[in-house]
Subunit: 94 residues, 2 copies
C-alpha cells in the first residue's frame, strides 16, 4: 500500500479526517485506506473509522486494527514512549 | 468470559489500569483480560495494553481489537453516539 492511502489523524475535527478517508476511497486506486494515529489522537481515529463506516460508506468494513509503541526523541535527546494505532478500512463492494 | 476479567478504562492515571490488568492476570481464573473504553478514554486503553505488554508481562499478547459505536441517552432523552473499543489481552505462557 502506498502512502497515498494513509490518513494521519491530528488535532482537526473528526469530519476533516472523515472527508479525507471518503475521498481516498472514491479517488484512490486502492480499496483499502489506512488510518494512523498516535497518543491522544487515537480516540479520534476510532471516531473517524466509525463515522465513515456508519454514516458515509456502508460497504466499508474494519479489516484490521493494530496497536504499538513508538519512541519519540525530543530536542534534548530525551526519549519518551507514545502509543500508536493503525486501523485498516476496506471497501467490500469496490 | 465473566465480568471479572474486564477492566473498564476511565479517567484515572494509566498505571491504575495497568495494575488492575496485571492483578487480573495473576489472580483471575482466565488467561485473558478484556480492556474496555469509550470516547476519549480509548487512547488510555491503548496505553494500558502497551504498558502491560512491554513493561510488566512479556508473555502477554494482543489477541484482538474491536471498535464500535454506542448510543448514549441523556437525561432529556436526547441521544448521542460515542466510539467504543475492546482490547483482548491473552497470556501465552499461563
Amino acid at each position: 500500500m502506498s502512502d497515498d492511502n494513509v490518513v494521519y489523524i491530528g488535532n482537526k475535527p473528526v469530519m476533516s479526517y472523515v472527508l479525507a478517508v471518503v475521498t481516498q476511497f472514491n479517488t484512490g486506486a486502492s480499496d483499502e485506506v489506512l488510518i494512523k494515529a498516535r497518543g491522544r489522537s487515537i480516540s479520534r481515529a476510532v471516531d473517524t473509522a466509525e463515522v465513515v463506516k456508519n454514516k458515509f460508506m456502508r460497504d466499508v468494513e474494519v479489516k484490521g486494527i493494530t496497536i504499538g509503541t513508538e519512541v519519540i526523541t525530543g530536542d534534548g535527546g530525551a526519549t519518551s514512549n507514545v502509543s500508536s494505532m493503525e486501523i485498516t478500512l476496506k471497501a467490500t463492494a469496490k
